[in-house]
Symmetry: C2
Subunit: 218 residues, 2 copies
Amino acid sequence: MSDFPKSELNTVRRLPKRGHYDRDVIYPIVDEALICHVGFSIDGQPFVMPTIHTRINDTIYLHGAIANRMLNHINNGNSVCINVTHLDGIVFARSVFHHSMNYRSAVLFGKGRVVETYEERWRVFEALTEHIAKGRWNDARHPNETEDKTTKIVAVEIESASAKIRTGPVGDEEEDYVLPVWAGVLPLNVKAGEPEADSRLSEKTVVPDYIKNYRRTP
Amino acid sequence: MSDFPKSELNTVRRLPKRGHYDRDVIYPIVDEALICHVGFSIDGQPFVMPTIHTRINDTIYLHGAIANRMLNHINNGNSVCINVTHLDGIVFARSVFHHSMNYRSAVLFGKGRVVETYEERWRVFEALTEHIAKGRWNDARHPNETEDKTTKIVAVEIESASAKIRTGPVGDEEEDYVLPVWAGVLPLNVKAGEPEADSRLSEKTVVPDYIKNYRRTP
């Protein structure tokens, strides 16, 4: 894929060597996350709301109830900033100052757009469901007319984006390496537990593989 | 503790029964999270940035490099919105429409304030370190003069806040319960892996208990 041009908006200024502008780096971070954090501003008041998202090419789709304030604001073509962050580990340094985290973070900038056609809406219903778990769209009952009518879907066209990534070990001051302080990385992972079947589920209904072996990463 | 008054800013409008305004509910959500998402707006352009935080009473503290744009904006007394969200599980319903997530989310609204005294700065260094892992402040080398000078710390006074929480099982339409679709909750947890000792660590240096048994929740 191709790079987003560096601009005032997306340039990583702190520790620029951690910055990435390639869609091939940014989009897997976005897709791995079940939810994103959406930032918007109404009359100068900033808001940040968590919500599930899905991505098709350079478009992020969000959904919710028809009266949802955030979605209506985005639908009106306003600017939004979307952040997705994965914490991969805590970096314990010998000094307080050099404590850090291993992370992969993506920040997307764009404007809202109305989703007008039924075809696009339906594609988004499918993409959102598949974003939760690949294979789910085939299994679950699809939206009926009432459900369709009460769901708002909005698009955010990604105009600018970047990722910031830290990996690797501790970086301490040379004179601190002799200190008798444990230093290293503590990995963090999001793990799925045992699926808890609904109490009204027939015993014949087996757990699908995409739930039994649930993973966000490929 | 006491409730935040409900206002235009913090009232949970979608599914109001999931809304909470009590500090006793909101603050444990904030404290459990290693990082938060900070929303701010510069000349109408919204930004969302992830960063580590720590809380002392009704104040959130953030830190970073002296030239950090977000911190300087907050330091100037501007409004910010801070969101913290824990994903506790995916709710797989028989219908696409009733898919959901179990989550605990806190949203905080406030304004930035300069941290003026050396005493407050030092309290924040300690609180930030203890926020990473309780016990770490005693073990790691404390900031020296240069590190102190190159670190910006800003305070956000929490003026308004709320939490939104979903727990419990699937809620399907009555007529869907007969469908042969697996339904239930898939729990999600953040788990710490095996600590990876730094390659220059002396073999005599043992892993502290707060790292070996790392947990965000008490």
